[in-house]
């Protein structure tokens, strides 16, 4: 067993860290305050390959696999969870659905510009009456000559207002249920009958856009059926599986930033005649944070390795998501406590990180759904591997 990162990943992490420190950190506060990620930041990220980290180079990506993508998400989420959410929704689910389910022509036409950062993607599953219960979607697609006509509404879609290309899940045959009756479509924002609805006013990750998507007799050519007809549910579930690992990695980065700042502050803050780093109550919080972070790091990179070596990983991916989001929950809570009133001030990053953290337990499958996924795997020893 060798737990060290190969050298290309070490250099990649160093490049990403420099990029994030120089290009993202100076904007992080403004991104939260103005509820907007400057498009320039996305362009810059695209220029150095950061909008298509996991995809092969022949599809415009950099060929860094899931391991490289986790390194990237870890580094970016240390500094700006809003930007991590934008690039995460673009890469790990929006573009990923096309990579996993798309035909060769679709990958050339859509994935290549997405991975190069020339276009932005979104992933449209959640509806007013469906989210955790993904199979309950109501959006309908009906064949009309060479096209499909989509009708329905998607809600809470990350990048919804800015995306050029959307992977959209719709019911094509209500009698068949999710496996066979649901098809995924690639929808361009210019398609007639598509419009963006209202954007959410959120608690955290305020720089990322979360919008409603409205399909009113939206005409989608039949070539834009994403992969196989009737296989939409499976494609979407596979994409979500992948997204869970990098979300765990993002939580790892955020938690590690908490630990670093807590140690630094504890050494600086003087109370009762010495730094609070001398207090055992602070030691215990910091020791617990560090231990959980190490456990999460092992889980995330082992799961990424399982993906990159072609092993089944669905159960472990759900563990990355639920454990990661709960580790960062506890870490940011301790960090705020250690920073005291400073941590509660809007003038310091801890308050923003506290708000940004909470969504990790909700989006891309709530903690409850992750536990159901894990338990389902455990109760069925033969596994519930999804095959297209």
């Amino acid at each position: 067993m060798d737990f060290s990162f190969p050298k290309e990943y070490q250099l990649f992490r160093r490049m990403v860290r420099e990029f994030v420190e120089n290009e993202v950190r100076p904007l992080a506060e403004e991104i939260d305050r103005e509820h907007y990620v400057p498009f320039d930041a996305i362009v810059k990220a695209g220029k150095v390959g950061l909008m298509g980290v996991p995809f092969p180079q022949k599809y415009g990506g950099i060929g860094a696999g899931e391991t490289g993508y986790c390194i990237f998400m870890e580094e970016i989420n240390r500094v700006c969870p809003s930007l991590a959410a934008v690039i995460g929704a673009h890469t790990s689910i929006g573009s990923m659905a096309i990579y996993l389910g798309g035909t060769e022509e679709q990958k050339q036409k859509y994935l290549v510009p997405l991975a190069r950062g020339e276009k932005v993607a979104a992933f449209a599953l959640t509806e007013p009456e469906a989210g955790s219960d993904a199979a309950a979607i109501k959006t309908r697609a009906v064949r009309d000559g060479d096209d499909y006509i989509l009708n329905g509404t998607k809600t809470f879609i990350t990048n919804g207002a800015h995306a050029d290309v959307m992977s959209v899940m719709a019911v094509t045959d209500p009698t068949l249920g999710p496996r066979g009756g649901v098809t995924a479509f690639i929808v361009e924002k210019e398609f007639p009958g598509f419009q963006v609805g209202t954007s959410e006013n959120k608690m955290g990750i305020r720089g990322s856009n979360t919008a409603e998507l409205i399909f009113e007799d939206c005409r989608v050519p039949k070539e834009n059926v994403l992969g196989q007809f009737g296989a939409g549910f499976v494609t979407f579930m596979k994409s979500l599986d992948m997204g869970r690992i990098s979300l765990g990695a993002a939580c790892l980065g955020g938690a590690d930033a908490c630990l670093e700042s807590s140690i630094q502050w504890a050494k600086t803050r003087q109370q009762f005649g010495g730094p609070i780093a001398h207090k055992q109550s602070v030691h215990f919080m910091i020791a617990d944070m560090a231990t959980e972070i190490e456990a999460l790091r092992s889980l995330v990179y082992r799961t990424a390795w399982m993906v990159d070596t072609g092993q089944p990983f669905s159960k472990e991916a759900a563990m990355c998501k639920v454990y990661g989001s709960e580790v960062i929950h506890r870490c940011i809570d301790s960090t705020l406590q250690i920073h005291g009133a400073l941590g509660y001030s809007r003038d310091f990053w801890v308050e923003r990180a506290f708000r940004d953290q909470r969504i990790t337990e909700i989006f891309e499958g709530t903690s409850e759904i992750q536990r159901i996924v894990i338990a389902t795997h455990l109760f069925r020893p033969e596994g519930v591997r999804i095959s297209a």
Partner: protein, 259 residues
């Protein structure tokens, strides 16, 4: 057009702490990076690649670990990389290092331009550029801010000169050493980082490949002792009314700086 960029790998200053009172350097993390000023030379070469299709070759002398610095140069955009490594190179001084690099540059051949950093962050010697130019018999321009023009075998460069700039013209081949503030080195593209380790090669040359003998490399300078520089004094304090103090300060500066 072929541009050769000699680079140096140094210990990352972020990984060590200098303890003045104990007169010791504590290395916490032994990381190695490309000498930051050499990245300015590499960046200027890559701009010539972008604008004029120049071929960029990175070259480095050192231990086998220097391979990482050369792969980073490939990731930034260099087309080829050469590592000069041999046990016989272990103790070279700046003269012998310039000789070794010079032999390698001659073996690579057909070059139009050598770009170096002005100085290494670790030793601060600032000697490799001038020594290389002497060995190769090339015109040299030091402290270059910008390569401002290139046509008909001539290159124009803007260099620092007595608190201002001068623009000079040299015939190629030539050697330029880049000032640290000359440019902002680019981030390597992610795909090139992956390819630098998975797809591309670094060519390794030893003593025999360069037609050198150990005698030729015997150092002219021998290290006797290393010591900490004296602590910086606080400088001169000018007191009094602001207007008067400013006048006095201006006078002191005028006398101190040779314009």
């Amino acid at each position: 057009m072929r541009v050769i960029v000699p680079i140096k790998q140094i210990l990352d200053p972020a990984g060590f702490v200098v303890h003045r009172r104990m007169e010791q350097v504590f290395v916490n993390v032994e990381n190695y990076i490309i000498n930051p000023n050499d990245k300015n030379a590499l960046e200027e070469a890559l701009r010539l690649k972008d604008a004029h299709g120049a071929e960029v070759i990175a070259l480095s002398l050192g231990e086998p670990r220097v391979d990482d610095a050369l792969r980073e140069a490939l990731a930034m955009g260099a087309d080829q990389a050469f590592l000069l490594t041999d046990e016989a190179f272990a103790e070279v001084d700046t003269g012998a290092a310039a000789l070794t690099l010079g032999k390698a540059i001659e073996r690579i051949g057909n070059y139009d331009l050598i770009l170096t950093g002005q100085r290494a962050l670790d030793t601060g010697a600032s000697q490799i550029g001038p020594r290389l130019a002497e060995y190769l018999g090339l015109p040299q321009v030091l402290q270059v801010q910008e390569v401002s023009g290139l046509d008909n075998g001539k290159l124009r460069a803007r260099r620092n000169w007595r608190g201002g700039y001068v623009e000079v013209e040299v015939s190629l081949p030539a050697l330029l050493s880049m000032a640290p503030e000359a440019n902002q080195p680019r981030y390597p593209h992610g795909a090139r980082i992956m390819n630098a380790y998975r797809e591309w090669e670094v060519t390794t040359w030893g003593l025999a490949d360069l037609g050198l003998t150990e005698e030729e490399l015997s150092p002219l300078i021998r290290l006797q002792r290393e010591a900490f520089p004296p602590e910086r004094t606080r400088g001169e304090l000018i007191t009094g009314e602001p207007a008067e103090a400013a006048k006095e300060l201006a006078q002191v500066l005028r006398e101190a700086v040779d314009w």
